[in-house]
Each structure stands twice: as C-alpha cells, then as structure tokens.
C-alpha cells in the first residue's frame, strides 16, 4: 500500500523529467542597423509626345500611359537635337568639332559640325553623326528621311570651288550592308551664308527587317572641285532635324517611355514583367538601352496579348556626362484598334550579387487620340556630341557614292 502511494505521483514525474532536462536553448544575439540612403538611380520623364509620365515623390516608381497611333512617327531618338543627345560623332581630318547649340538662326536645338583646313586639288574631308535605330516590328506603309540643315563656309585663302553635301545612310548593323542612301547637295560655290533647307527622300521599306537593328548616319562632306595653288577654308554644318518618319498600318508606338539616371556607382539592370492585363490584341516589345555605348538588352515580348518573354537581359548602368541619361526604356507596340494593355514591370538593379533594388513601373498602352508634335522645350546647355568607337565600315562610307 505504501509503495503504491509513493509510486503513483512518481510516474508522471518520470515522464516529464527527460523533457525538462532536454529543453536546453542557446541564444545568439544579432543586431541589425539600417541607415537608408538616397536612391542612386532615379526615373525621369523623357518628354516624348504621346507618352504621359507620372513619377513617385522620390522618382523611384512611375506610371506611364502610351498612346498608340496610326500617325507617322519618328524612329530616330532626339532627331530635333532638343534635350540629351544619343547622337555619336565620327570626326574627319579637319571636320573635328561637334556640339549641340540651344538655338541657332531661329531654330531650337541645333547640332554643329565644323572645322577648317588646307585645300588642294582633290581635297575631301567628311564627318558623321550617327546613332543606332530599330526598325518597327509593325508593318510600315512608307518611310521618309527628313534632314533640315544649312552650311556656312568660306575659302579663307587661295582660290577654290568647294562642293558641300550631306548623305544619309541606313546600314544594317549585323551585315554592314548599306540598305539605303540619299545624297543632298547643300551648296556649291565660293561662299555662302546659312539658309535653312529641308531635304527629304523616301526609303525602300521592303528592304528592312521588322525589329531589325540599323545604323542611321549623316555624312557631311567637303570636296574641292577646283583649287588653284592651294588655299584654306572653314566650314560649319548645322543640323536642326534628322529623322526617319514611318507610317504604320496599325496603331503603334516606337520610342522611349521612361528614362533613368545613375548618380553614383555601377550596376547591372534588367526589366521584368510581373503581371499584365489586356483588352483586344496587343503586340509589344520592351527593352533597355544604354545609349552612351549603343547597347541594348534583349526584349520582354508580348505576342497577341500573350506573354512570350517576361524578362529582359541585363545592361551595365553607370554615371554619364551631364545632359545624358544612363538608361532608356523603349517600347515597340502595335495594337488592334480599340485594344489596350496594362503592364506591371519592375526595374531591378544590383551590385554584383550582394544587394538588389526593385522599382515598380506601371505601363498602360491605349488607343489614340493622336500623338502630338515635337517638343518645344528648349535645352538648357550646350553639350558635346559623344565620340566613341565608330561602327565598322565607316572608312568605306567616307568615300561611298550612291
């Protein structure tokens, strides 16, 4: 009896005893301090007609509405030289200076290529403005080149008759074949004052690959038709407009919908499509472009309102000279009349593999009203057109005659 009285309370004690003895815990303290900093990359409104941009209070988010249109549109970035320039410059022997002026002779945003040199019989020199363009994926009814230019020059010594011309080239960036070229005589004689003229010509749209990448080049050339006993000259070529205007068969948009700039550091950036909703039929390609080095990412692709590719490749993003932007976000879209899309994107940038930042972007694509005209916002600075490694084939183009 006594042993039972002792055993009964001991049984539950024996059951719990191991658990009490085994419940050992170790605690390692960790402190985390967060000192937040200003965003090293911020968004900017590109000021493109037909693109309405609303930025967050710290420019790390954006809501954009793009109006697709059947109006002819320009596929050359900053074709009016207003704002930051994606144009690149290839100097000649004497034509070695290239800048963009806020205004000149009543025109806002004017590129100036100039130089001076010694003349001799057979003298020729040329310099180029160029940029990489993307042919629209949508069917194009027709395409025209527009060049508004003027030239000031003088033979400062000796006697020479000079021929000054401008040739527009479109060169396939992959095959390096000249797809189109148009030459315009700017002036011939002994001296001239600058008078603005618009030169235009049609392109052979059947020769272009939808979505293809091309170089758009403007060659300014000085040739001596006759020089007696040598001499010297100067020449200044002014360009107010250099574009390719294409007429789409369906409502479409091709251009920059958002800009980003890095204030410090080097990053790898990409775009991701997180979610999308569609009304009707929408085709779209979205990609990143670093225009200072003429490099672009692979595209986010939407075909017939279905997401084919939801992630772009990465681009290196760095700080750039004043007046330029580190990153351009491009859209090429064609929609059936009345269609629309809402795309939820994320710009993601990282430093190596350690830290990633994500900014949300909402992109809305809607059917017309029609896009507006050129932006009249005057530029604030005179800035120099960048000169970097020229595209291949440039020496051939110096002497090319169509």
């Amino acid at each position: 009896m006594l042993s039972r009285l002792v055993a009964i309370p001991l049984i539950p004690l024996l059951f719990f005893l191991p658990h009490v003895l085994g419940a050992e815990f170790s605690y390692y303290p960790t402190s985390l301090t967060l000192n937040s900093i200003s965003p090293p990359i911020t968004f900017y409104d590109p000021g493109v007609p037909g693109v309405t941009v609303s930025l967050g209070p710290n420019s790390t988010s954006a809501s954009i509405t793009v109006k697709a249109s059947t109006q002819p549109f320009d596929i050359v970035a900053n074709s009016d030289f207003i704002g930051p320039s994606p144009w690149l410059f290839i100097p000649g022997t004497d034509l070695t200076s290239a800048t963009v002026l806020p205004s000149y002779l009543g025109r806002v945003g004017v590129a100036n290529i100039s130089g001076s040199g010694s003349l001799f019989s057979g003298y020729t020199d040329s310099a180029f403005l160029y940029q990489q363009i993307t042919w629209p994926t949508t069917p194009i009814l027709f395409a025209n080149v527009y060049l508004e230019a003027c030239v000031e020059y003088a033979v400062t010594s000796g006697f020479s008759i000079l021929l000054l011309d401008a040739t527009v080239f479109v060169v396939d960036a992959n095959t390096l074949a000249v797809v189109d070229s148009l030459t315009f005589i700017l002036d011939v004689g002994s001296s001239s004052t600058c008078t603005w003229n618009t030169y235009t010509g049609g392109l052979n749209v059947a020769a272009y690959t939808p979505g293809g990448t091309y170089y758009f080049l403007i060659r300014y050339r000085v040739q001596s038709l006759f020089t007696l006993f040598g001499g010297a000259y100067y020449a200044r070529f002014y360009t107010n407009l250099a574009n390719i205007t294409v007429a789409p068969a369906n409502p479409t948009f091709l251009g920059i919908f958002l800009l980003a700039n890095a204030s410090t550091g080097i990053y790898n950036a990409s775009l991701s499509l997180v979610s999308a909703s569609f009304t009707g039929n929408v085709d779209a390609n979205i990609w990143l472009r670093n225009n200072t080095v003429q490099v672009q990412s692979s595209s986010i692709t939407i075909t017939a309102s279905s997401i084919v590719t939801s992630q772009s490749s990465e681009l290196v993003v760095t700080t750039v000279p004043p007046g330029y932007y580190s990153l351009e976000m491009w859209l090429d879209t064609t929609i059936s009349p009345g269609s629309s899309a809402t795309l939820n994107l994320v710009l993601k940038y990282r430093i190596q593999d350690g830290v990633y930042v994500e900014y949300p972007i909402q992109l809305n694509i809607v059917d017309p009203p029609e896009r507006g005209g050129r932006s009249a916002e005057p530029p604030g600075n005179v800035f120099r057109i960048l000169s970097i490694e020229p595209p291949p084939y440039i020496d051939y183009l110096r002497n090319y005659d169509a």
């Binding site: 658990h19 085994g22 419940a23 050992e24 815990f25 170790s26 605690y27 390692y28 303290p29 960790t30 402190s31 985390l32 301090t33 967060l34 000192n35 937040s36 900093i37 200003s38 965003p39 090293p40 967050g56 209070p57 710290n58 790390t60 988010s61 410090t264 550091g265 430093i351 190596q352 593999d353 350690g354 830290v355 990633y356 930042v357 994500e358 900014y359 949300p360």
Partner: protein, 186 residues
Amino acid sequence: MRTSRAIILLALLTLLALVGTAVFVYLPVNVTINSVSPPVIFQLGSNAGGTDLAGNIIQVTLGPNASSATLVLHPTYQKTYYHDVLQVSNPSPPAGDNYYIGIKVVSPLTGAGFSSAVARVYDSANNLLFTADLTTAGTYGWATLLPDGQTFRIDIEIVITEGVPLPSGSVTFELVYSPQSVTPPP
C-alpha cells in the same frame, strides 16, 4: 489564576505553531558545468563586406566566438534585398549532432518609414525555410532542422515606401537553437 494559565498556554501554543511551520529541508545537489565550443556558429555570408548602395559597405561583424553578429546595411526607397549576408552553420565535427533553430525577434525594428523588414533563411539547395518579420516581436521558424554539416544562409529584405523622409533604425533578434524540437524556446 485559571485565566492567566489559559493565556500562557495559548501563547505557548501560538509560538509552537509558528515555530512548527518554519521548517526547512536542505537536499544537496552538485552541479558541474563543462562548457563546450559552440556547436552552431555564425559565418559571414558570401556578400558580407561587399559593396552596398552609394559606395557604402555591407557591414557584417561576428563576435570572437561566432556566437553573435552585428550588421549595418544601407537600403533605399522601394525594395532593397541583401543576399547571403549572414550564415548559420552546424559544422562537422562533431558528427551526428543535429539542432533545431529559429529566430526570435527581441526588439522589433524601430524607425518610421520602414514598411516591411524580413529575414529569410534558406538551405544550401536555395529552398526558403522560413521568414522572420523583423518589425514584430516573436519567434519564427521554430523548429527548423539544421542537420549536422549543413549551413543555412540569411537574406534581408527591406521595403521603404516613397514619400517619407529616409529612415534609420535598428532591430535586435536572436538565433535560438536546441538539440530538441518538442519544447518551444521561452
């Protein structure tokens, strides 16, 4: 006479009762403490000491015996994600010892403007094991098995909503581990 005797008797009984309740029994117990090297340790993540935003450094410092850690990070607006900044390891030797871990948030994140802050724990196969909310006190992920010889990584994700002044703040949490999983940590 009888009354005084009664009073004396009553006083004696009262005293006896008080003395009788103050009884103590002392059972001797010998406790021997043999401390051991920590079987679970912190390690620097692969990105500790790497470049943070705006030229800063991802600062991660371990205590002298890898049983404490201090981190300083520099996030910005929207979502900032820090990958593999800290690791938790159960090295082998000694072999065969498994431990259960969790994260206990002791002092949640201070600093207005942080809309969320989490620590994510992943195994070596990049599987998400659990997430600890650094803005709310509590124990998270208990009891996640950290097998012998395995190492888990810890990522930190911070979200700062636009429109507020850039915040600064701190959070204190503990890695808690035990050889058993039945009893939750106090």
